[in-house]
């Protein structure tokens, strides 16, 4: 029966090509705009931590003094980072910040390149589930006793060592030799949730060095440095002992019980710091945010995108109303024909489903064409605005979502006209013939 209706629908569409084209166009443009904005929105709001999202927590501290910031800062100080590492509670934990240096190799002809790097502990890789191609993270011991070791990315390994297993080889950062201990497999979470301070859609660093080297090698901070206190920061030691916020801190907590215990530990840490004269505010505290909350706190999805999605949903609504009007006009015009079919025995439900099939077919065509529009507009936008690829690639789910939305929307729009046509009395139309 369905295929017979499909055949009828196709014939009906061919009979009024202009009208059908208008409807397909209307719905396709509506879908095209909606999918375009939805795609940008979804890509920006994706949670790259997946199922580990609720186990990973960013730590923030209300450590500022009176008359300063009136909100929690996204980062914490070096001294707090250093102290937090002593907590026995988390499964894994790591402080970190962004730096960078000139990279050279043993090959004297290699032109030095400037690379940004992440300064962190060995737990970083396990905590964020970074896959390894060769080797692995440095030993946990290195987090206490600094050693010149480094983990590099597959990409950089290809660039410098032509993709060979480079574990054990030497690289020079600012003319100091570092030994490669691991090469990570391509790993580039988007948004870059572990450090949204320095561009949430930037690429992950290609170099990772031990945090314990920071005071020795005096790594400069290549991120935001926020300070509420007027302090002279003329040497690196000043900076480490200062109240400037420039470190990020992540912990992995297995279950709600552990979260509770860690919060207690944080509270006691805050109390202890109060005793030595820091954390002057009465509401001094430690806060945790899991990945999902963290993305929300940092407004990783810009408000603009939400306004766009809202307006494009309204836009789709206009297209549907438009289609509803056209369908109504078209179906009612066919009333005499339907009258004949009713008179020779077609039931109302048969007439109704026949028309719904036709509407569905129009919706499906509109959905496919809409996908084409969306693909076109996304490619145009990405070329014109040099957007991150992640934001403008058509998400796989859209291939299913677009035709589904289109068919569903068309069916909703078709219910009223189809009902009108099948509920009219056949005799009226027969008489007027």
């Amino acid at each position: 029966m369905f295929f017979y209706y499909l055949d009828l629908a196709w014939r009906s569409i061919k009979k009024t090509p202009f009208m059908s084209l208008l409807m397909v166009l209307a719905i396709s443009i509506g879908i095209g705009i909606t999918i375009t904005t939805l795609n940008i929105y979804q890509m920006a709001s994706i949670n790259p931590a997946g199922e580990r999202s609720s186990k990973l927590f960013e730590v923030r501290l209300w450590s500022q003094g009176v008359d300063s910031w009136d909100e929690l800062n996204e980062q914490i100080t070096y001294q707090d980072s250093f102290n937090l590492r002593n907590s026995p509670v988390p499964v894994r934990q790591t402080p970190m910040f962004r730096t960078g240096f000139a990279v050279q190799t043993e090959d004297p002809d290699f032109t030095p390149i400037l690379e940004s790097a992440r300064v962190t502990d060995s737990d970083f890789f396990g905590l964020f589930s970074v896959p390894f191609l060769y080797g692995g993270a440095w030993e946990a011991q290195v987090d206490q006793e600094a050693a010149y070791q480094v983990v590099i990315s597959e990409d950089l390994n290809k660039e410098i060592f032509k993709g060979e297993n480079s574990v054990g080889r030497t690289l020079y950062f600012n003319q100091k030799p570092y030994q490669v201990v691991g090469v990570t497999k391509t790993w580039n979470p988007s948004p870059k949730y572990y450090d949204v301070n320095n561009g949430a859609f930037n690429d992950a660093e290609r170099i990772f060095v031990p945090y314990s080297l920071a005071p020795i090698e005096e790594y400069q901070s290549w991120g935001n440095n926020q300070s509420w206190k007027n302090e002279s920061l003329n040497t690196y030691a000043d900076r480490l002992a200062s109240e400037a916020h420039w470190n990020q801190y992540w912990v992995e907590l297995e279950n709600p019980e552990q979260v509770r215990v860690y919060k207690e530990w944080l509270a006691s840490y805050v109390e202890q710091q109060k005793l030595i004269g820091r954390f002057e505010m009465p509401n001094a505290s430690g806060e945790l945010a899991d990945v999902e909350q963290w993305l929300k706190i940092n407004n990783v999805v810009p408000e603009d995108n939400k306004v766009l999605v809202g307006l494009s949903a309204l836009f789709l609504l206009v297209c549907l109303v438009n289609m509803l009007g056209l369908l109504l006009a078209k179906f009612l015009k066919r009333a005499p024909e339907v009258g004949v079919r009713r008179a020779i025995g077609a039931s109302r439900s048969q007439i109704f489903s026949q028309h719904m099939v036709e509407v569905g077919l129009i919706g499906f065509c509109g959905g496919l064409l809409g996908l084409l529009w969306a693909w076109g507009s996304l490619s145009m936008l990405s070329v014109h605005f040099e957007l991150e690829d992640a934001l403008t690639q058509l998400d796989m789910s859209m291939w299913v979502l677009a035709p589904s939305i289109a068919v569903l929307a068309a069916l909703v729009a078709g219910i009223y006209p189809a009902w009108r046509i099948c509920s009219t009395n056949p005799s009226v139309h027969l008489k007027s013939q």
């Binding site: 000139a102 603009d304 836009f315 009007g325």
Partner: protein, 402 residues
């Protein structure tokens, strides 16, 4: 005669079609009014003057990785090398680049006593006596730094400042800013004397409320990572991109020199999201108007076919072609105006929602009004074309057939 009464009774007899059209117009007005408001607001933001010779000024960075060099001496030599290159008009080291999205910002305290002193925030440019000329900003009061006033190495050493008019007005009101003292730390600490006022100089963050608040301080910073600002004759960037690293490497090979970018390129990047928003919304507005008028044309065409007999009869009874045309037009205007009024109200309500949920300013009523006017013009065309066809129907044929 406009025959409004028969038109209304026709509309009332067959309600569903006109109601759908009405809904469509209401929604279109609401969307188009708000979208065009957001578009024009973004375009206004992008049109603000930065005060800088944007197509002549570029920045680049030098990273010195030699551990045993003396940064400030190295910077001075580099500066001389750059200034001697052909095409270069002026150059300076800097703490930040205008419109780049990243840089330095801090508060200053100014006032008679500690109690009455207030803090104002500004973007901070650390640089030398060539900074004003390099940026191409206009000095409107006081003077530039003297060469011998320039301090070296660390931010704390600043003791002279050139401020923007916007900053001066915020801090000192109508009183002349030149000669005033402000403090770079707590009240009374690190005093800085204002020596000059410039008309306009924007900071790095275009979405900041304090974009026009900028201060130039007389320090040549010396860190491993140094940013340079260069003003050169227009179109020389490509050539200097080669010449500058070559010249600087000749002095010391142990550095990485890159990130050459004109201010106009920074501008494009920093306003990218605004431009993206304006572009997508413009697409939406155009397509929406297109769909609305195509839909309307389609409906009118069908109505005409359905009413052929009626039209033929009216023509036979003496109605002129013009009367038929005006019948459809008036029908359209009635729907358009009712829809427009409701749509205008919905638009204002939607604008109110957007304002309270997101950080958007209040919708100006001009936008719904303009949208309604635009729709009336547009739908006139969408109606006239099919209606002319109807008017041309010969009464004889119309009454015979069907």
């Amino acid at each position: 005669m406009l025959q409004i009464k028969p038109i209304i009774s026709t509309l009332m007899r067959n309600k569903s079609g006109p109601i759908l059209l009405l809904i469509q117009i209401v929604l279109s007005v609401a969307i188009v009014a708000n979208a065009s408001f957001i578009i024009s607001e973004r375009l206004n933001l992008m049109a603000r003057d930065s005060g800088i010779a944007e197509s002549e000024v570029f920045d680049f960075s030098v990273y010195n990785f030699d551990s045993d060099i003396y940064f400030s001496a190295q910077n001075s030599r580099d500066m001389q090398t750059i200034r001697d290159l052909p095409g270069v008009i002026a150059a300076t080291t800097t703490s930040m680049t205008p419109l780049s999205g990243g840089g330095w910002m801090s508060g200053f305290m100014a006032g008679e006593t500690e109690e009455t002193a207030k803090t104002s925030h500004a973007a901070i440019y650390y640089g030398d006596e060539q900074m004003v000329k390099t940026l191409g900003v206009k000095l409107i009061a006081g003077r530039n730094f003297y060469e011998e006033e320039i301090q070296q190495e660390i931010p704390d050493r600043a003791n002279r400042a050139i401020v923007t008019q916007a900053f001066a007005t915020e801090v000192w009101g109508d009183a002349p800013a030149v000669g005033q003292i402000m403090y770079a730390a707590d009240f009374g600490e690190e005093p800085v004397e204002v020596v000059g006022v410039i008309e306009t100089l924007q900071g790095a963050w275009v979405n900041s409320d304090e974009l026009e608040n900028s201060v130039i301080l007389n320090v040549e910073l010396a860190f491993p990572f140094t940013k340079f600002l260069v003003r050169a004759e227009e179109g020389t960037l490509a050539q200097l991109k080669e010449a500058i690293p070559a010249a600087l490497h000749k002095d010391n090979i142990n550095r990485v020199i890159n990130d050459f970018s004109l201010i106009s390129e920074h501008r494009k990047r920093v306003y990218r999201n605004h431009e993206l928003m304006a572009t997508v919304l413009s697409m939406m507005v155009v397509l929406l108007l297109l769909i609305t008028s195509l839909g309307l044309a389609g409906m009118v065409m069908f109505n005409i076919e359905r009413r052929t007999k009626q039209i033929g009869t009216r023509r036979a009874l003496g109605a002129k072609k013009r009367d038929i045309l005006s019948f459809f037009l008036v029908e359209n205007y009635i729907i358009c105006i009712i829809g427009g009024v409701i749509g205008g109200l919905v638009a204002m309500q939607l604008g109110q929602q957007l304002m309270s949920i997101y950080s958007l300013p209040k919708l100006d009523p001009v936008y719904p009004l303009a949208t309604i006017a635009g729709l009336i013009v547009l739908t006139t065309f969408a109606v006239i074309l099919p209606a002319r066809k109807a008017a041309n129907i010969s009464p004889a044929i119309a009454t015979r057939s069907v």
